[in-house]
Symmetry: C2
Subunit: 543 residues, 2 copies
């Protein structure tokens, strides 16, 4: 592992823009970088994937490996990734730092407290919560309806007992009311931070956060509670992107990690812009499969900021296609070209969607040890038939060497094709039309069935001046539909819209299909029970 200051200096970052957090992590000052680094912004490449399956597709892995490979062939590339949440590491999840020869390090520190960003977000979220209850306690001058408070508290921990709670019990402890916790990644403060261009924009967005409604139905904002400056104080350092490195010393910016269902699932705008300023290519990713991650990347993050993807890399695996072709998880190790070919419908629809967005696409086949030549050939053949460039990626086993062909293909694509990116829908389109546009245009469904509550909320939001916002769909990531078992490329289904809510600070309308879990639980035997801290400081069982 190289000292992070060396990584920074090699990446052209002025020393004055670097704040060390230990020897291998740093925070970067984006303003200083913008002032001192005079070069045109690089190209923006989005890594996305087919629908996720239990076998794992390796989207983060490919992002890391591709960045390494680009550097190995002489292209200055920087990866811009999401920041892991601490809580899930003690449950089931194994961190979010890649694996094999395509890893980000120091993985343990990144997966734990890292540079404190999530703790800062938790604090800012909970300060607002405390100020709400304090306002009720001291006379409720704003006339907030205690049963119409939407703002919960946040914790970066998997704790199902906190999903639904009653607070304020006992004399002198304020208003007794129902509330609950979300995990920090699901906090609107996280989404706000990730979409903010700078501190001033952060304040504007925090100001807009609606915490609930008055007795007469008027929205109450964080600004109304005078909480915005203090929340920004808590986020002063968290808004700065973090620099780490891959196993091969490729610079990686990790910053922000919002949920990919009730939020947009992309790392921070500031992180992306910093990577673009420093690299000839900035490689970033978005949560879940392309119908969720890429759609939100383009229709929320790019729409709000003017960023646009110059190319997309769609990650696919033989296993994922076999799974989408009907093979159960336990039998995915067996060669089955026929099932794989059935599963290609999933790949085709994602490709078609990306092409409709006007973004040049490259398919990356993330290679697993058991994949057979016939399976790989079937994927390659299909891509060639469709006229889409495709390369095998062996970055897990071989690091940059295993992704050299992919990297060259990407460079070729960027040189030969210019993005025609355009968002899926116009701001002016009514909210229901936007929802239906996503369902019919991306998911392959026929339309939406709204719950009475969802219908009412959409009407209210439309008439209250929020109709111009993009929609943020929360649905199962395992299917194009809202039924996790409908694999492949289901068609003709109606999508059930259960609930609609406004993230006014982040600037999108959350559209839920079914119940979205915003506070995970621990499994029967949590990963926490299998961890060991050795006397030399090494952690066993974390990643």
């Amino acid at each position: 592992m190289k000292p992070i200051i060396n990584i920074a200096l090699e990446a052209g970052i002025p020393e004055s823009a670097v704040d060390m957090y230990g020897k291998y992590k740093a925070k970067l000052d984006p303003d200083t970088i913008r002032q001192h680094v005079n070069r045109p912004d690089g190209k923006l490449v989005l890594v996305t994937a087919v629908n996720p399956t239990p076998a794992g597709e390796g989207k983060t892995l490919t992002t890391i490996g591709l960045s390494q490979s680009l550097n190995a062939i002489g292209v200055r590339a920087i990866a811009a990734l999401r920041e892991p949440s601490l809580g899930p590491c003690f449950g089931m999840k194994g961190g979010a730092t890649g694996s094999g020869q395509a890893q980000i390090i120091p993985a343990d520190e990144i997966n734990l407290h890292f540079t404190g960003d999530l703790h800062a977000i938790t604090s800012a979220h909970n300060l607002l919560a405390a100020m709400i209850d304090n306002h009720l306690y001291y006379g409720n001058a704003l006339d907030i309806h205690p049963k119409k408070i939407l703002w919960k508290r946040a914790a970066d921990m998997n704790d199902r007992g906190l999903r639904s709670i009653v607070t304020g019990i006992g004399a002198g402890n304020g208003e007794v009311r129902e509330s609950g916790y979300v995990i920090t990644s699901a906090s609107e403060v996280m989404a706000v931070l990730c979409l903010s261009e700078n501190l001033a924009d952060l304040k504007v967005r925090l100001s807009r956060i609606i915490i609930g409604y008055t007795y007469s139905g008027q929205p109450v904002t964080a600004a109304d509670l005078n909480a915005v400056e203090a929340m920004t104080v808590l986020l002063r350092d968290a808004i700065k992107p973090n620099l780490v490195q891959t196993l091969e010393g490729t610079p990686v910016i990790i910053h922000g990690g919002p949920f990919a269902n009730i939020a947009h699932g992309c790392s921070s705008v500031i992180g992306t812009r910093t990577a673009l300023r420093l690299g000839d290519i900035a490689v970033t990713e978005a949560g879940f499969g392309a119908e969720l991650g890429a759609e939100k990347f383009m229709n929320i993050k790019c729409r709000q900021t003017g960023l646009q993807p110059d190319a997309a890399v769609l990650v696919v695996t033989a296993k994922s296609l076999k799974y989408n072709g009907g093979i159960p998880v336990k039998e995915l190790d067996r060669e089955d070209v026929q099932s794989l070919q059935l599963g290609l419908v999933n790949l085709r629809r994602h490709l078609n969607n990306l092409q409709k967005s006007g973004v040049p696409v490259l398919v990356a086949i993330n290679h697993f040890a058991g994949d057979t030549d016939a399976e790989i050939a079937a994927i390659v053949d299909e891509c060639q038939r469709l006229g889409v460039p495709v390369e095998l990626s062996k970055v897990w086993a071989e690091g940059s060497a295993g992704g050299a062909a992919l990297a060259r293909a990407l460079v070729h694509l960027l040189e030969s094709e210019v993005t025609q990116y355009q968002p899926l829908y116009a701001d002016e389109l009514p909210l229901t039309a936007k929802i239906e546009q996503v369902i019919t245009g991306i998911y392959g469904g026929s339309g939406a069935v709204y719950s009475p509550e969802a219908k009412r909320t959409l009407t209210e939001l439309q008439s209250n001046g929020f109709g111009h916002l993009p929609v943020c769909m929360a649905k199962t990531p395992y299917s194009f539909s809202d039924q996790s078992k409908w694999l492949g490329a289901p068609e003709g289904f109606m999508m059930n819209i259960s609930r609609v809510s406004l993230s006014a600070g982040a600037g999108f309308i959350v559209v839920e299909t079914g119940n979205t879990m915003t506070m995970p639980g621990l499994p029967r035997v949590p990963a926490a029970e299998r961890m060991t801290l050795h006397p030399d400081g090494q952690i066993e069982g974390l990643v």
Copy 2:
């Protein structure tokens, strides 16, 4: 502000022991320091005070100023202080970094997230909480009685709504039960961390934490839940002491900040030992007045670790003595030698207590602008009459120059007198006898009146093998008694013991007189509402 690496190197700390957190904060590796710094440990000086009053006595200020002054007269001194809690900074409190010319910097960073220690403690605390509820959810193999769970959750925020809550509401969300939050400084994990000698000791202490009882009344520990290693993983960096500097560039170790009522109110043992290794004098402090802070410093921290104070500096102010002499807060600015002389009873009892402990004492009169010569003379005269060295300290106005006489007097005291320190009571003494020893020997009371519950708990603890532990008294800091209005030096009172509990991890018995608040609330207009973050990153309204 000097780069912290320079401060570290000047203090003799090897570069390999320093992990930067930005340019002006660092974490130190105590093991590396112990290996590389070969010099005898310095002298340990405890700064304590008369009973606190609303006017403020300046104990932290004096600790900082005295350290500066010692360095100014050529003595290598290091201050070892408590780490502020973030929550209260958004309520009423103005941080814990001194003021005037005796400040620790960067005050804003220290008072906010600092190096993340409190966040790590919060996480470790809440992981254990989540594992308890998860254990109940998955069948409760340990047979834990849900209504006998003592372990609450923790947050570093003033939030009265969280004092008493009901968790686990709703299908699939686990056991519905009463619980609550404590502020992080009141977490037993904080006390444990501060009393631990190293990672191995930390694990032993965490293992002992009793989270509640089974249906058959057996204690259930963090070890029973397999939570200890994962908690230690979360605390891996938090156990390392932090280095900052004063306005004059004096090195200051800030590490740990447990409550001074239900815990022992001292900065970490590891921080103290590091300061002793690096300095000829380590200047530290303890919470509240000497009857709480110094008593716990000696009978808990020193007892458990073998540390012993070579001298004590007792901070007094003219205002505090006038207040103890019966003058109301608003009239403290007026000269009143007669009332001050009445208030000297408070000083005398503290001096007497410290002398009984065998520790050489020096009185520091912390000077306020409005103090008159006659008032100062009255204090000096009394000390001289008692044969106790006394010096005026003007470190607030003048920095090290204002504390030079105090520093010289301290050096003289250390050279001329050898500590005869001995703890107030023996480990073998029964718990009730220990409590009564503190009440009669330190507080000036006549004895204890136990609530039936307290009596029962003491009997149980004594017969369950916890009788050897020291007692940690939780009482009002404003009086020697349990009545905050009984100023001066009340005598002959009986102390009401309302509740007794075991902090098995920390290794003491908490003895409460009245209700102890472990989760503060925000005031009517919280400091948060008056804060501003300026575009240059400067924070207004935080300290």
